[in-house]
């Protein structure tokens, strides 16, 4: 029912422009995470460097989103659902920018471990990235449709990423004990795993912002005791 248009048409245009900026950031984040993993798996240092360089695009989009949000806050004094969409969009833009930073970190470490990648426990990272990409895709669909009903599963999926990270740490501990000479590679893998885990956390934050955007309520309710 809130699809009714604003009386001031340019307000709708500005909201749509912000929406498109966030959607573009979501797509770019998806690409960055996916290509960072591909660069790691295939030891493709050129692709890894491309991911690192492309982080600037995300920073520029983040700045654009910030300007669009500030412009609307100043000019439109948004209220109710408009206020929630604009505030949530700004927060989501920040989460996406951080997600892309972690993707660039993964790509940076991928360059460092390119020569020894076949000896590293990549399956845990692949699992984390798979979950992260699914969560991100689901979040962007929720953003597009402004429907909070699908948020719970997204939020809970982060537990899979945390579990895979814990397994990665265990595996790396074993390998470090067995082969102290590869500690640099193992440390790089630890940072890669940590980046994946943080990506999951930021997507989970996105889900919380989306819940507020849709319902006007905090994602959590404290049970009365």
């Amino acid at each position: 029912m809130t699809t009714a248009k604003h009386i001031v048409r340019s307000y709708d245009e500005e909201l749509d422009t912000l929406h498109q900026t966030i959607v573009a950031m979501g797509r770019l984040a998806n690409t960055q995470i996916g290509e960072a993993l591909r660069a790691l798996n295939t030891a493709d240092t050129a692709l890894a460097r491309k991911v690192v360089d492309r982080d600037e695009e995300m920073n520029a989009l983040h700045q654009t989103a910030d300007q669009q949000v500030l412009g609307m806050l100043a000019k439109r004094q948004p209220l109710a659902s408009d206020l929630r969409v604009i505030v949530a969009s700004q927060k989501i833009a920040s989460e996406l920018e951080r997600i892309a930073d972690y993707a660039a970190n993964i790509a940076g470490h991928a360059v460092r471990v390119a020569d020894s990648v076949k000896d590293l426990p990549l399956q845990h990272v692949a699992s984390m990235v798979r979950d992260a990409l699914q969560m991100l895709s689901d979040c962007m669909q929720v953003y597009d449709r402004n429907n909070a009903a699908a948020i719970g599963p997204i939020w809970q999926q982060d537990e899979n990423i945390n579990a895979a990270f814990a397994e990665l740490i265990e595996e790396l501990s074993r390998q470090m004990t067995a082969d102290a000479g590869a500690s640099q590679d193992h440390t790089a893998m630890l940072f890669i795993g940590r980046s994946c885990e943080r990506i999951g956390d930021h997507i989970k934050n996105m889900a919380e912002h989306l819940h507020y955007m849709s319902t006007g309520e905090s994602f959590f309710t404290r049970e009365c005791t």
């Binding site: 029912m1 809130t2 009714a4 248009k5 604003h6 009386i7 001031v8 307000y11 004094q77 948004p78 209220l79 109710a80 659902s81 408009d82 206020l83 929630r84 402004n146 429907n147 909070a148 009903a149 699908a150 948020i151 719970g152 599963p153 997204i154 939020w155 809970q156 889900a207 819940h211 849709s214 319902t215 006007g216 309520e217 905090s218 994602f219 959590f220 309710t221 404290r222 049970e223 005791t225």
Partner: protein, 286 residues
């Protein structure tokens, strides 16, 4: 936050837009009642001749709260405000039904004298309307006719106290004998507020008190409203949603004579419960 103390809303929640009450629903939703009402309005209907301008409005106005009444032109918010101190009595074709009480007493009872009633429930209008008298006399007039002061020194004290409460004393203390109409618009409105305060009201009604003022004078009045709330109960009609959100603790949304929704100001302006409220405050076509 411990997992055992939290519950995830997400899985079962619907969107706010899905939860909004449908536009066709015209019974009031939200917090009509308060624990410590100063005024209680029950099933109030107002007619202008045969035309019903207010439909079955039930609402409490709490002690020491500022309640904002918002809505499109012609929605009945000013009509309702004017019922609260029987200002509609001046309109021959106007008829008020239902019950409005101040501290438990029905203000439409035949025993109530409207002159002291309007001292207890004062009103500030859209356009500042100082008497064509001196600043001093603008304030002193009310207390004198209501018998609240007996001597010159008592009158002086009331004038000074009222002007201080209205935040005007420092600006006019050296020219109290000059005409009130010579003040700026914002000062004139504060003079009118001081005039209202001077007769010891319980409630102050404000009908778009800042619509004729510039942003600076508006800020001064809004700051004053915030201070006055400690002593008085205030009901304000405003077309500015930003003003309603700045000065009030509760907000009531009127639409075509119906009281559609009442809630805390934070709730109304961030997550209204009725589609009509949402449409109005976001500036959408209903």
């Amino acid at each position: 936050m411990e997992a055992s103390q939290t519950a995830v809303n997400g899985a079962a929640s619907a969107t706010a837009s899905q939860l909004l009450v449908d536009r066709s629903h015209r019974e009031t939703i939200g917090q009509q009642f308060v624990e410590n009402p100063r005024m209680t309005c029950r099933n109030v209907d107002v007619y202008y001749g045969d035309k019903r301008a207010i439909n079955n409005v039930t609402l409490d106005i709490g002690s020491n709260e500022v309640i904002a009444m918002i809505g499109p032109s012609g929605c009945g918010k000013s009509t309702f405000l004017r019922c609260l101190n029987r200002m509609n009595d001046y309109i021959d074709i106007c008829r008020v039904e239902g019950e409005i009480r101040l501290d438990g007493q029905n203000i439409y009872s035949g025993e109530v004298d409207v002159v002291p009633l309007r001292a207890m429930i004062g009103m500030v209008f859209q356009k500042p309307n100082p008497f064509p008298k001196s600043i001093y006399d603008n304030i002193a007039y009310g207390p004198k006719i209501h018998g609240l002061v007996a001597t010159k020194s008592e009158t002086d004290e009331v004038v000074e106290t009222s002007l201080k409460k209205a935040g005007l004393w420092e600006e006019v203390k050296d020219r109290l004998d000059q005409p009130g109409t010579g003040l700026s618009g914002g000062q004139q409105q504060r003079l009118c507020i001081a005039r209202t305060i001077a007769v010891n009201p319980e409630v102050i009604l404000m009908d778009e008190p800042c619509s004729a003022l510039d942003p600076i004078a508006t800020s001064v009045i809004e700051d004053l409203i915030d201070e006055l709330r400690e002593q008085y109960t205030i009901a304000i009609v405003t077309h500015s949603m930003q003003q309603a959100s700045r000065v009030s603790q509760r907000t009531a949304y009127f639409h075509l004579g119906d009281l559609i929704e009442v809630g805390t100001t934070d709730q109304i302006f961030t997550r209204p419960g009725h589609q009509l409220t949402e449409d109005y405050i976001t500036g959408r076509f209903g």
